[in-house]
C-alpha cells in the first residue's frame, strides 16, 4: 500500500496532466494561447462549492454546472476576443486580464460574504458529497478524468475538428479560404477547454476542501496549467502528461534536496520554461522523439 505522500504526488501529476490537456485543446491544437485559464478553474471550484454550501447540491452535479458556467464564460470571453481579431500575445494577455478581473471580484465578494473563509461541511468519506479520507479515491477519480480527456484529445486530433483547429493554428487566412469558419471553431475549442478546466476546479476544491481566491484565480495557476502542456509538447496527445510528470517530479526532487521556500518550484518552472522555449520549442515529447527518429534514419540508410 503506497504512502499518502506518494499518492498525493501521483494525484498532483495526473491533476496537472489533466489541466494541461484541457488547456492543450485551445492552446495546443487550436493555437490560441490563454494566459487566463485560472478564470475557468476558479469558476468551476466556486460554482460547485457555493452550490453545495447553500443548496446542498452534490459536488458531482455542481461539477457539471461549474463546467457549464465555464462554457458560458469561455464563450463570452472568446466571442469578444475572436470577434475583434485578437491573436497571439494579445489574446493571451486579454485572457489574463479576464482572469484577474474575476479574481478581484471574487476577492471582494468573498471577503464581504465569508470573512472567515468558506464553511465547507466536512463529511469524512461520502461518495455523494465527493469527499474521501483516503487520497486513493481521488487518485482513481483524477485518473478517470485524465483518461477521458486524453481519449477525447486523441479522437479530436484525428477528426475533422482537430484538423480544422490545427489549420487555423498554422494559418488562419488559408484555413478560411478552405471553407473553415475559424471564429466558430475557435469558440468550440474555447468551450471544450473551459468546460474541462472548470471540472478540474471542482476536483481541486474537493481534494483540498479549502478555497482561497488567490490560489484559484491567480496568475500562478494560469501559468501552471499551461506549463505542463508547453513543456511536454503543445498540440500533442501525451505532451501534457509528459510535462506534468517532468514538472511535478522536478519540483518534488528540488523540494527535498534544496532548503524549501515558497516559490522555489516556480523558479524551477521558470528556468525549465526558458530552457524548453530556447532549446526544445516543440516540447519534451518531441525532444525525446528526435534522437529516436535520427536513429531510425541512420538505420534505414
Amino acid at each position: 500500500m503506497p504512502s499518502q505522500y506518494v499518492i498525493h504526488l501521483a494525484v498532483m501529476i495526473l491533476f496537472f496532466a489533466y489541466l494541461g490537456a484541457a488547456w492543450n485543446i485551445l492552446g495546443g491544437y487550436a493555437g490560441q494561447f490563454s494566459f487566463g485559464h485560472a478564470a475557468f478553474f476558479g469558476l468551476g471550484a466556486y460554482t460547485s462549492t457555493l452550490l453545495h454550501i447553500h443548496y446542498g447540491v452534490s459536488p458531482w452535479i455542481g461539477m457539471a454546472l461549474g463546467g457549464l458556467a465555464g462554457v458560458l464564460l469561455g464563450l463570452g470571453s472568446g466571442f469578444l476576443s475572436f470577434r475583434y481579431g485578437l491573436r497571439g500575445p494579445y489574446f493571451a494577455l486579454v485572457m489574463l486580464a479576464f482572469a484577474e478581473m474575476l479574481r478581484l471580484l471574487f476577492e471582494t465578494w468573498m471577503s464581504r460574504s465569508y470573512p472567515l473563509g468558506l464553511p465547507i461541511p466536512l463529511k469524512g468519506t461520502s461518495l455523494l458529497d465527493f469527499q474521501f479520507r483516503d487520497k486513493g479515491h481521488y487518485f482513481y477519480i483524477i485518473l478517470v478524468m485524465l483518461i477521458a480527456v486524453t481519449w477525447l484529445c486523441h479522437r479530436l486530433a484525428r477528426s475533422r475538428v482537430g484538423a480544422y483547429w490545427m489549420a487555423i493554428r498554422d494559418n488562419e487566412e488559408a484555413a478560411q479560404a478552405l471553407g473553415i469558419d475559424a471564429f466558430a471553431y475557435k469558440l468550440l475549442a474555447m468551450a471544450i477547454s473551459a468546460f474541462l478546466t472548470a471540472l478540474g476546479g471542482t476536483f481541486y476544491a474537493q481534494y483540498f476542501l479549502t478555497l482561497e481566491v488567490n490560489e484559484l484565480f491567480g496568475v500562478q495557476i494560469s501559468v501552471e496549467i499551461l506549463l505542463s502542456a508547453i513543456i511536454g509538447g503543445a498540440g500533442t496527445v501525451f505532451g501534457p502528461l509528459v510535462g506534468a510528470v517532468a514538472l511535478q517530479l522536478l519540483s518534488e526532487v528540488t523540494r527535498v534536496y534544496v532548503r524549501a521556500f515558497s516559490g522555489f518550484d516556480l523558479m524551477v518552472y521558470g528556468g525549465v520554461l526558458i530552457l524548453v522555449i530556447i532549446f526544445l520549442p516543440q516540447g519534451l515529447l518531441e525532444g525525446m522523439r528526435r534522437p529516436y527518429r535520427a536513429m531510425a534514419r541512420a538505420l534505414s540508410t
Binding site: F33, F35, L80, S81, Y84, L86, G88, P89, Y90, A92, L93, V94, A97, F98, E100, M101, L104, L105, E107, T108, V219, V223, I230, F261, S262, G263, F264, L266, M267, Y269, G270, G271, V272, L273, I274, I277, I278, P281
Partner: protein, 287 residues
Amino acid sequence: MLILQALLSGLLNGGIYSLVAVGLTLIFGVMRIINFAHGSLMMLGMYVSYWLFVLWGVDPYLALIASGSVLFAVGVLIEAVLVSPVLEAPEHDQLLLTLGISLVIENLALFLWKADPRTVTVPYLAVAPMVGGIMISSPRVIAFVVSLALTAVLYVFLKRTDLGKAIRAVSQDREGALTVGINMRRIYALAFGIGCACVGVAGGLVVPFYAVDPYVGGVFVITAFVVVVLGGMGNFGGALLAALIVGLAESVAAVFIPAAMKQVVMYTIFVVVLLFRPQGLFGARRA
C-alpha cells in the same frame, strides 16, 4: 480639496508610469516583443537602490545611476543570452520566455530577500510641505520630474542622434533598416537594455515612497501594459500621454471606488482598448 489632492498625486504617479511604459513600448516597438518580465525588472531596480541605501547609505537619487546601469547591463545580457535565440520564434514563445524570466527573477528575489516589504526612510524627504491645503510629497515630485526629464532625454536621443535614428528605423521598418546596413543585433541589445534601464531608474525613483517586495513589479507592470496599449503599442509619445491620463484617472477613481475595484477598472480599460482600439487612443486606424 480631496479631488485636487487626487489630481496632484495622479499626475505625479503618471510621471512614473510614463518612464515604466516608455521602456516597455520601446522594447515592443523595436523588437515586437511583449516583455512580461518588465515588472520583475523594475522590482530588481528597486532592490538595487534599497540595498545601496541600507548597506552603504548611498543616497537614493545617487543610486539611480547604479540601478539604471545595473538594469541596462541585465537587459543587454538577457537579450543576448535568452531573447535573441527566439526572435524568429512564434510570438507566443517570446511571451512565454519573458514569463519564464519573470518567474525566475521574482522567485529568486523571494529566495534572497524574503517576502517582507522593505522601506527606505530618507530624512531630508520626510518633510511634506503643504501648499494651499494640499500635501506635496517631495519624493513623488522628484520622481515625477526626473521621470519626465528622462523620458524627454530619451525622446531627444531617439529623434536626434544617429544611434537613436537607427533604433527608430528598426522599429518602423525592419527590412528597410537591414538594407541600409544597420546592425540589428546591436540595436536589439541596445533597445532591450535601454528599456530595462528605464524601469531600473523608475524603480529607484519610487523606493523612497514605495515599499519593495518581490511581487511589487506586478502592480506596476499591469499599469504599464494598460498605458502602452492605451498609447498605442510602440508609440512613444502616446505612452507618455497615456501614462498621465491613467495616473489621473486612477487617483480620481480611487476617491470614489474601493481599491480592488480600481484594478478591475484598469483591466477593463486594457481589455476594451485592445478589443476596440488596438492601435491605441492616438494612432490612426490601420487599413
